[in-house]
Symmetry: C2
Subunit: 229 residues, 2 copies
């Protein structure tokens, strides 16, 4: 079953789905975890917001397509990138059948230059905890991505990709609290994070007001699996 019908429904691809990547690109800005949304220009979802994405090129791997999309929207390269899940319900895009491989990306907020290109009406950062209703099945994608980043934060060191090269322990803790959406005990947090041996202490830093805090940097800036909290 299905062959005739599918040729009928998707005449442009002879029954073969198109393959796209969709990206949930997170960053930290104004004390919140935010993800990048674009406004759809055409089709039944015109005007709605969605995660950026696009078809996979003929000579491109899925990872490369995802990396390219991150680069085209934000200018960021070499950030953290991880495949999330693949969505393939026939009806998820009413226009044509699209199987979408979703990715989770983390980019630092400084030095980002947003670029909607011509294919979207608009582009903006939006609080990850309070997304509007999104186009396609992207509500589901967003929920999954948030669950994944929260869980992954607790047993990997991937925060490094959201932070500048140098930061205080207070700032690092704030990142964890922001993303996990719960307060952490300062002493316990310091004990554990320092015990992991992933950080190196640098020199002092003046904070705008009050006592200066020691600056730290990640010894290695690449993904590692380690119990953090």
């Amino acid at each position: 079953m299905g062959q005739v019908e599918s040729y009928h429904r998707f005449p442009d691809t002879q029954g073969h789905p198109r393959v796209a990547v969709d990206l949930v690109i997170y960053t930290l800005a104004r004390r919140a975890l935010r993800c990048l949304l674009v406004q759809v220009k055409e089709g039944p979802f015109a005007g709605k917001w969605a995660f950026p994405g696009g078809l996979v090129g003929g000579e491109e791997s899925l990872d490369q397509a995802a990396e390219r999309e991150v680069y085209e929207r934000t200018g960021a390269r070499n950030g953290y990138l991880e495949q999330l899940y693949t969505f393939g319900k026939p009806e998820r895009d009413p226009a044509t059948r699209v199987v979408s491989v979703s990715y989770l990306a983390l980019v630092p907020h400084h030095g980002i230059q947003l670029n909607p290109a011509s294919k979207y009406a608009d582009i903006r950062w939006c609080r990850a905890a309070a997304l509007p209703g999104l186009a396609y099945d992207h509500d589901q994608v967003g929920r999954l991505a948030l669950k994944r980043i929260r869980s992954k934060l607790q047993y990997t060191n991937i925060v490094y990709s959201l932070l500048p090269a140098e930061f205080t322990l207070g700032e690092l803790q704030e990142v964890y609290e922001t993303i996990l959406h719960r307060p952490l005990d300062r002493r316990n947090f310091r004990k554990k994070i320092l015990a992991l041996g992933l950080l190196q202490r640098l020199r002092k830093k003046r904070r705008g007001t009050h006592r200066p805090a020691a600056l730290y940097a990640f010894i290695r800036r690449r993904p590692m699996v380690i119990e953090m909290l």
Copy 2:
């Protein structure tokens, strides 16, 4: 870039990849975790073994395609099924571009009837810990699946889908030891598994030799997330 080239390399799909599912179907047989392999009949990998799979139908979701493949090979329905990862390197299948969504499936061993259909030369169970070199990128798929089932065993109740309705605690422990590939302490295992309250005790059972063991059954046979070990 790529459009012209891809039309050239994959003229049959106008540059659009085909979308397939591949299944790592595990079962327990003869005291080992085994997965189902099929022997490829045609193409550059003819004669090699691989995980069963096939193209996704035009009106079918990815999950449905995976479920169908499990059913067609084994006759099993309603077993545990979970999406693993999507592989999409352009060169992973030299014949034509295929993006493959891999799935992990668990089926009980009793009542399984293997069916190679016409598309494969042969079909058989093979120890998951000692797979031969497989076709395509399936070595990678197999490694990932094994990692996933081992890790998932420890925080979910999915073993229920490998076991018959009734079993002894000794048998249950053996399943864990077999899959995790390490011995577990009997008293600690019992304490923890019973404390979870997922099992109900039934009546006695004769074992071929020696003291009869109490039989247990899962209260609910559906996936739940719970720390088990």
